[in-house]
């Protein structure tokens, strides 16, 4: 039984670490109704600053903690001042996209500075274990518990007894009223971001010490775990976030005890989905919501979309169609094939995120479902490749819609959290369901593209095939947008309450958007699988989801032509300028941030 004691201690310690992240998220959500996707990046930054302090500067532990907290707080203040404050009067989607972009930029900067290879972060504490009850406990466990409890006390004193703390509490109860009473909301935001970042940074350092390892993948995991804990505790509820974190730590720890380490994250995300479905307001608030607050402003940037005459589109299409007839290099064709595949994904995302307003951060999962389905159909059942790709599209449409359906009643940021979690769940299932997906080995020897018995091996035939598929999908989507469905999707996006009052069922229309979008993404994944001939659980990752999101914002949310233009631009321009691969993701993140700040309607305008 001693191991159970150890698992409990382990769960509480990890829960303590999550609490440091989750409390920050809860504070920020409280005052600005924003889920800060960059929280995990600050945690990552904290871990690496801790590494620099310990390994390079040899600072003693108390000083290390202070240095990390101060540096992380500074990062938080910079994010607040330059990333979010300019967006205060912007459309509702803007701060959400900004924190996603900031998180991407920070992660990439850390990766470029320190290389993606894991590093050891020694804890500077004596390596002894004390016997306690049925198990053991080490000095690091005590340190983490101590930091957790001390921060909670400091935070309590700050919120309860300091003037700024009062202002924070006032602003989180009623921002407008607080402003009218003379509360300086900018100072409140600063305070909250600074505190959240300091806690997040220290948390990253402690986790690094706990596992004696830090790497750049920590960021996304931390954001997800922190958000899970915060949502379980009730968004914006600070004590709730602490309890949610401890609960999450225990659930994970017991889950690992029973099923093994590779299931750790699966439990976290399943807990999230269950809570979102059953008690979207968290465990401590009754599930019956108070009447929805009136929504002011629009979700996406209002704009007049640029009208491109049909003949111009036809001419552009014709030029791209005849391109392979001219002596262009294989390299150019290859780049454009990538653009067409990304274009299909972007069509899917622009429908779901732009037209329907469900900002999906797990869109690469739809690629993965389509790719695996098509690969397995053609490999194990000998289904002709053309049909297998369609099968992949249908599977993505069905399974993707089914997986996302529990979050149809969620709004705004919650949809992004849910889709991010579902994307992770899909990747984890692919990794662990070895009998079907071949687990970490991946699937190799996927047959090449064929159409009606002809092998599409030459670059130009693959080019034509992918271009044709993309154009057909784009035309269908254009037709969808001009039908009553396009109108219904956009109405739900703009105001789901008013839409329901006029008979529009959210489940029905969100399903239809995900079915159509899932098909396009699944087809893209299917084609990619046959093109690459080898896929595994990491082929379709979050970076692709973010790239697709950047494409969609660049082209204009909901804009079909914009999605294609954006794909060509974001795939093509880095090639033209020969930008090294490791800088590309950084550039995509920066492009996303600049767009959100200076041209939220994208190049061609939102629809």
């Amino acid at each position: 039984m001693s191991s159970w004691f150890d698992y409990t201690i382990n769960g509480l310690i990890i829960g303590n670490v999550y609490a440091l992240v989750a409390v920050g998220l809860a504070l920020i959500f409280g005052v600005s109704r924003l889920i800060n996707f960059a929280q995990g990046s600050i945690y990552l930054v904290g871990a690496y600053i801790g590494w620099v302090a310990v390994v390079r500067l040899h600072t003693p532990l108390p000083l290390t903690i202070i240095v990390v907290a101060a540096a992380a707080a500074l990062v938080g203040l910079v994010i607040e001042r330059f990333g979010l404050r300019p967006l205060q009067n912007s459309v509702r989607i803007a701060p959400l996209l900004a924190t996603i972009g900031i998180s991407f930029v920070l992660d990439q900067l850390v990766m470029l500075t320190f290389s993606p290879n894991p590093r050891a972060l020694p804890s500077q504490l004596p390596d002894v274990r004390f016997q306690l009850g049925g198990g053991t406990i080490g000095p690091l466990d005590l340190l983490i518990a101590g930091v957790g409890i001390t921060s909670a006390l400091l935070l309590f004193v700050f919120l309860r007894y300091s003037k700024l703390g009062w202002a924070v509490r006032a602003a989180s109860q009623d921002r407008d009223a607080a402003m009218q009473m003379g509360v300086d909301v900018n100072r409140v935001n600063q305070a909250v971001f600074g505190i959240a970042a300091a806690l997040g940074g220290v948390s990253g350092m402690l986790v690094g010490m706990y596992y004696n390892q830090i790497d750049t993948a920590m960021s996304l995991q931390a954001t997800l775990k922190g958000v899970v804990a915060e949502v379980v505790g009730g968004a914006g509820n600070v004590p709730g976030a602490v309890i949610g974190s401890l609960l999450l730590g225990l659930v994970e720890s017991y889950g690992v005890a029973v099923f093994g380490t590779s299931y750790r994250n699966l439990f976290a995300f399943l807990l999230l989905v269950v809570v979102l479905v059953l008690r979207p307001n968290g465990l401590f608030i009754s599930p019956r919501q108070a009447p929805p607050e009136p929504l002011t402003g629009t979700f996406i940037a209002p704009s007049r979309p640029l009208r491109i005459p049909r003949w111009a589109l036809a001419v552009a299409g014709a030029i791209f169609a005849v391109l392979p007839l001219f002596p262009v290099s294989f390299y150019v064709l290859q780049t454009l094939i990538n653009a067409w595949l990304l274009g299909m994904l972007a069509l899917s995302l622009t429908l779901v995120a732009g037209t329907m307003g469900q900002v999906s951060l797990g869109h690469a999962a739809l690629l993965a479902i389509g790719a695996y389905t098509s690969a397995l159909l053609s490999l194990t059942l000998n289904v002709p490749v053309g049909l297998a790709i369609i099968g992949g599209g249908l599977m993505s449409a069905a399974l993707g819609t089914l997986l996302i359906s529990p979050s149809f009643r969620l709004r705004g940021h919650y949809v992004s959290i849910a889709t991010l979690a579902i994307g992770e769940i899909v990747a984890l299932v692919i990794l662990n369901w070895e009998s079907v997906t071949r687990g970490p080995i991946g699937i190799s020897g996927i047959p090449p593209l064929t159409l009606f018995g002809y092998d599409l091996i030459s670059p130009s035939s693959v080019y034509w095939f992918s271009l044709a598929v993309m154009v057909v999908l784009a035309l269908l989507q254009g037709r969808l947008l001009t039908s009553h469905l396009g109108r219904s999707f956009r109405a739900i996006r703009d105001d789901d309450i008013a839409a329901r009052a006029y008979g529009l069922s959210l489940n029905r229309y969100k399903s239809l958007a995900f079915i159509f979008g899932g098909f396009a993404a699944g087809v893209s994944g299917g084609i990619a699988a046959h093109l690459y001939s080898y896929i595994n659980h990491e082929t379709f990752n979050t970076q692709q989801s973010i790239l697709a999101l950047t494409v969609v914002i660049l082209g204009g949310l909901g804009n079909v032509v914009g999605a294609i233009v954006g794909s060509v631009a974001l795939v093509g321009l880095p090639e033209v300028f020969r930008i090294a691969a490791e800088y590309r993701i950084l550039i995509y993140g920066i492009v996303l941030l600049l767009l959100v700040r200076f041209r939220p309607q994208g190049l061609l305008g939102t629809i």
Binding site: A290, L485, R487, R500, A501
Partner: protein, 282 residues
């Protein structure tokens, strides 16, 4: 009992609590077909919450709502829209990025045949298919609805028609209210709930709106109206209900309610009712 038989909407003991606050407190109400009842009361009296309870956006803690003899308590807003209940919103909830035309077409959503092929489970897929293929019947229906929308917009004179293709976010506040009412009319409602249709309108615009509501009433539409402008309430209403702190404190013809001391007290507070009475008499 007789009243119940003829009433289109009846509320019995309708109650909604938020924490310690009872926003709607055991409200009874009967609205006959073709009748126009106004609900007045100070801010925070529970009028909009009452609307939310009737239209399914919120669920009561106690009591029942019945519509044409059917119990509709707790039904979803989508179902109630399909039953023919349309409403406007106090703060104005137009679809900002949709054109005026599209906003009003959404009002006709429950009437679209393309929306509900009567097949379970695959109904939504058929709807997707119809939207993509768009057979002649779907096109014809859409065309006919567009004509209907123009006819509805024409009721607002030159306020909305010239702006038919403009996105709603570019409209003035008053025009957004008009779009909301046009959208409600496009549903061809059997019961219309108007939540402060003249909020933020100047006297001319208010008079126009009053004329429109009078027309709708003359056409036989059953209307429940929340309104602060008492002159409009007095002219239009068959009966007036006064709410204060969630309770119904008075009910009856406008003139009778107007001089009710309880009503004056609710509006002006204790100790002032004497002066208020003189003013209202004046």
């Amino acid at each position: 009992m007789e009243k119940q038989l003829h009433s289109m909407l009846s509320l019995r003991g309708l109650t909604r609590r938020f924490g310690g606050l009872t926003a709607v407190d055991t409200i009874d109400l009967d609205l006959a077909k073709g009748e126009l009842i106004s609900i007045i009361g100070p801010n925070g009296a529970g009028k909009t919450t009452l609307f939310n309870l009737v239209t399914g956006l919120d669920r009561p803690d106690a009591g029942t709502v019945s519509f044409e003899g059917q119990d509709i308590t707790g039904l979803s807003p989508e179902r109630l829209a399909a039953e023919g209940i349309a409403r406007t919103f106090q703060l104005g909830r137009v679809f900002g990025n949709l054109s005026v035309m599209d906003n009003v077409l959404i009002g006709a959503h429950t009437r679209l045949r393309a929306v509900k092929p009567a097949v379970p489970v695959i109904g939504p897929l058929l709807e997707l298919g119809l939207a993509l293929l768009r057979p002649a019947s779907v096109k014809a229906e859409e065309e006919q609805l567009r004509e209907e929308v123009k006819a509805i917009l024409a009721r607002f004179g030159e306020r909305l028609l010239p702006r038919i293709d403009q996105p709603a976010y570019s409209l003035s506040y008053a025009n957004r209210r008009r779009v909301e009412i046009a959208r409600a009319l496009a549903l061809k409602p059997r019961l219309l709930l108007l939540d402060e249709p003249t909020a933020g309108m100047n006297p001319t615009e208010t008079a126009e709106m009053q004329g429109l509501v009078a027309e709708l009433k003359a056409e036989g539409l059953t209307i429940l109206l929340i309104e602060h402008k008492l002159e409009m309430v007095m002219r239009l209403s068959d009966r007036v209900i006064v709410m204060d702190e969630g309770k119904k404190i008075a009910e009856g013809p406008g003139e009778q309610v107007r001089t009710d001391p309880k009503v004056i007290e609710a509006y002006l507070g204790h100790g002032l009712s004497g002066t208020a009475e003189q003013e209202s008499a004046a």
